[in-house]
């Protein structure tokens, strides 16, 4: 797997060393005396669940945060980075999980931000050529003159890589780089990383996915709750089970009990649905799909292929053409309230912007969808006593950790915000649930509880549309999986009859002549 010689890995002064790093945030110790050593020419994985402190550690290395204690060494000498600019100057480049690109600018313009040259005039043509040559040299295929908003997610990641390479980075820090990529794009990325380590650069690869860590890393450092549980473990010889134990602190890998259910009545039926995205470009081009009672249908797609718009169309948040039948009634283009009253629950992708009102209390957030219904709504008034009682009950039964029900939602942790949303949506006893990225960014415990709740709803007879970028999640939860590509259903199959490779192929439009085992219900692949 590794192309490195052992001597390179074992060189005495590591390219980058972190010693005794401590970082505290209000209420948490994110890093508690962490040591980390990166050798030249290696891919060093930093493995841990969400919240283990990996990103904090790397943000310290990148100069974004200042450590409360500890030191950073480069080539054996102590350094202090006051900002990412210092880190870049020292040859460290970080690629964040959420890309930091200016959508309205071209690729070249994005790469030039923050440089000391040119003095004044920006000769874009000259820099376009330079960027083009750099991209070609590293096999990073992207048009320097394209505006970033026109690019696919994979291309955007290449721009981020180009940004740090253009600055002469010797060390790349990549935070969850595969989270938004399709399987084929992951292969491309891995090829790029290998070519870079072959040229003597080093890569820190932050991830919580065991499989890909074993596939790409030379050595692995595992973190749990702010501490290192295994330092610089050689990847050769490591096993998934061993890593999982180090990462989670117990031996079990998540195993879900998905009892077979006889398919029930269709609850959701999309017929030839077309819709535009926020930029006015077509996002859905004739989608037909059915979700039955007691069934979870997963939607697999690379970001930007229409899955977000699909969720919005069904919940009434986006205008569309075609029919959206919920329990036999067409609710396309009807007010959101209509969808809610038809029993459509929605776990939205954007939890803090859409799913909750951040400055309002837990109570206000928990009654969002039933403040008009008895016993909380009484004529034109709201019975705050009843609202508080309902909120307390939900807070207890869904184990939402917060000082009180009057606490503002923005002060909750990510997992608790998601529990709040799930509590509210599930408590409405929905016939149809639209769950978008329900576990992204959550720690293992929160992921498990979210999965359990979804399966319970399925067992109770709800129809669930699960939109996720995590293919493992879809394969674990869904009865059927539909792949969206460029706004069309590229294929649909029972999860039992398909595998991750075939889905990945469909997600990147690479399977024109390779039909899915089962044709799309209603022939929506148009």
């Amino acid at each position: 797997m590794s192309t490195q010689t052992p001597t390179a890995v074992a060189s005495p002064a590591p390219a980058v060393g972190l010693r005794g790093i401590v970082k505290r945030f209000p209420g948490v110790v994110a890093n508690d005396g962490v040591d980390f050593a990166l050798a030249a020419g290696e891919v060093h994985a930093l493995l841990g669940e969400n919240g283990a402190g990996k990103s904090t550690l790397m943000n310290i290395l990148d100069g974004l945060y200042q450590p409360d204690a500890g030191e950073i060494l480069m080539d054996g000498r102590p350094v202090a980075f006051r900002s990412p600019r210092d880190a870049i100057a020292a040859g460290l480049g970080m690629i964040h999980q959420h890309f930091t690109l200016v959508a309205s600018m071209t690729v070249t313009e994005n790469i030039l931000i923050g440089l000391d040259r040119p003095r004044l005039r920006l000769d874009l043509r000259r820099y376009d050529a330079e960027v083009g040559r750099l991209a070609e040299a590293h096999g990073l295929n992207v048009d320097p003159r394209a505006k970033v908003w026109q690019l696919s997610v994979g291309e955007r990641q290449r721009v981020e890589i180009l940004k740090v390479l253009y600055r002469g980075a010797r060390v790349l820090i990549m935070d969850e780089p595969t989270a938004v990529l399709a399987p084929l794009e992951v292969d491309d990325l891995f090829r790029t990383l290998r070519s870079m380590t072959a040229a003597g650069r080093s890569v820190v690869f932050i991830s919580h996915k065991l499989g890909e860590v074993l596939a790409i890393a030379d050595r692995i450092t595992v973190m749990r709750r702010g501490r290192v549980t295994a330092a610089a473990l050689p990847a050769a010889g490591a096993t998934k089970a061993q890593l999982a134990t180090l990462m989670v602190g117990r031996a079990v890998l998540e195993s879900l009990e998905r009892t077979p259910m006889p398919p029930g009545e269709p609850v959701l039926a999309l017929e030839g649905v077309e819709a535009d995205n926020d930029k006015g470009l077509p996002a859905l081009r004739g989608v037909s799909l059915e979700v039955r009672s007691g069934e979870i249908v997963g939607i697999a797609a690379v970001a930007g292929n229409g899955q977000s718009e699909l969720a919005e169309v069904v919940t009434g948040l986006r205008q569309c053409r075609g029919r959206v039948m919920v329990s036999g009634e067409d609710i396309a283009n009807k007010p959101v309230r209509k969808a809610i009253s038809r029993g459509v629950a929605h776990v939205p992708e954007d939890r803090t912007g859409v799913g909750t009102a951040p400055n309002l209390s837990l109570v206000d957030n928990l009654i969002m969808k039933r403040y008009r219904a008895s016993p909380i709504g009484r004529g034109w008034t709201i019975d705050m006593g009843a609202a508080r009682a309902a909120a307390s009950q939900l807070k207890d039964s869904y184990e939402i950790v917060a000082p009180s029900i009057e606490t503002q939602a923005r002060l909750l942790s990510g997992g608790n915000i998601q529990r709040l949303i799930l509590a509210r949506e599930i408590e409405s006893k929905p016939r149809l649930m639209i769950a978008v990225q329900p576990t992204r960014g959550l720690d293992v415990g929160a992921v498990e509880s979210a999965h359990r709740l979804l399966l319970e709803r399925r067992a109770a007879g709800a129809a669930i549309l699960l939109i996720s970028e995590d293919l493992d999640e879809i394969l674990a939860l869904a009865d059927r999986v539909a792949v969206l590509y460029e706004g069309r259903v590229a294929g649909i199959a029972d999860t039992a009859d398909t595998d991750i490779n075939r889905i990945g192929l469909l997600m990147t439009g690479g399977a024109g002549g390779d039909p899915a085992p089962e044709p799309a219900t209603g022939g929506g692949a148009g």
Binding site: P84, M105, P118, K163, T352, G353
Partner: protein, 322 residues
């Protein structure tokens, strides 16, 4: 009615709006709305005028006005950038403060005698161009010509230079700029300050060039707000702002001119016949701004473009702002 004279005066009056609007464009391109333009213009107007009265030098007045406008805008910068307060409320506070302070500072200033104004001149050759020459290049204040140069220069600065690239990145995606070592705070402070200086200049343009004298809050009379409206109409482009500013100036001058003659085109002039009707003429410029806002906002909605993406959102490292 001499249309050429009206247009020439319209350009001079439009220059006031132009400076303020370009200043606001720069601040907003950096992600900061500053609704205190009216207050900063008044401060610029009064400080410029008072300085010119006491020193006898109009250029010192211009410098003082720009410094005063810039200093006042720093209050907004501290409160919104460093302390992350709401930009809308802070801008309103700035307007109150600027207006009140200007009236305090301007106490007794309205009785000051004649002062030396900024020079006016015609541009050789250009003033000979038919139609355009007499309107745009004949006997205009030097600040009008500065305005002509400022517009393309600002466009070039924003779109074709390295500092302009940084300015845009800070207004669109501050996290990206920050990650690449562009100081979001420093950039925002800088352009809010420049915006304040240009608002101060706009105020001085009134008192030292176009409509000399100090008339309390009426000196600016809501034009700061019109400039803020122009920015939306202009969709943050200096060229569109210039077009809007000159057009607006021309309309204002036209409504003034229409009150005077007994007949217009041979018809009895209703505004001359019945004085109260002139109040409808006074409404016209404001109604025009409303129309311009509708046009600008609809354009922005249709083309899905418009305001800098991070406009109005305080930047906090490591947080996605709201």
């Amino acid at each position: 009615m001499d249309l050429q004279l009206i247009m020439a005066a319209g350009i001079a009056v439009g220059t006031i709006l132009l400076f303020a609007a370009v200043g606001e464009i720069l601040a907003e391109r950096a992600g900061v709305i500053n609704l205190g333009v009216e207050g900063m213009m008044l401060i610029g107007a009064v400080v410029g005028y008072a300085t010119a009265v006491s020193t006898g030098n109009a250029w010192l007045g211009v410098a003082g006005a720009m410094l005063a406008g810039g200093l006042l805008s720093l209050l907004h910068a501290i409160v919104t950038i460093t302390l992350r307060a709401d930009q809308v409320v802070s801008g309103l506070a700035l307007t109150f403060l600027g207006t009140g302070l200007a009236r305090v500072l301007g106490e007794g200033l309205s009785k000051a005698g004649a002062i030396s104004l900024l020079p006016r001149f015609s541009v050789p050759l250009l003033s000979d161009i038919p139609v355009l020459g007499p309107i745009a290049f004949t006997e205009q204040s030097i600040l009008v010509y500065v305005g002509y140069l400022l517009v393309p220069a600002t466009w070039y600065w924003i779109n074709r230079t390295r500092p302009g690239l940084h300015l845009r990145s800070v207004g669109e995606e501050p996290a990206a700029a920050d990650a690449l070592g562009v100081s979001v705070y420093a950039t925002r402070y800088r352009y809010v300050f420049i915006g304040g200086m240009l608002s101060g200049l706009a105020g001085a343009t009134i008192t030292l060039a176009v409509q000399p004298g100090w008339f309390g809050a009426l000196t600016v009379n809501g034009r700061g707000w019109i400039a803020v409206g122009l920015v939306i109409f202009a969709q943050w482009s200096p060229f569109r702002a210039a077009a809007g500013a000159y057009l607006f100036g021309a309309v204002v001058q036209l409504t003034l001119a229409m009150q005077l003659p007994p007949t217009i085109l041979g018809l009895a002039n209703p505004f001359f016949q019945y004085h109260a009707n002139t109040f409808f003429l006074e409404m016209l410029p404001y109604a025009l701004v409303l129309v311009a806002l509708v046009v600008g906002s609809r354009d922005a909605m249709r083309k899905r473009i418009g305001a800098p993406a991070a406009l109005g959102i305080p930047y906090v490292r490591g947080e996605r702002g709201r």
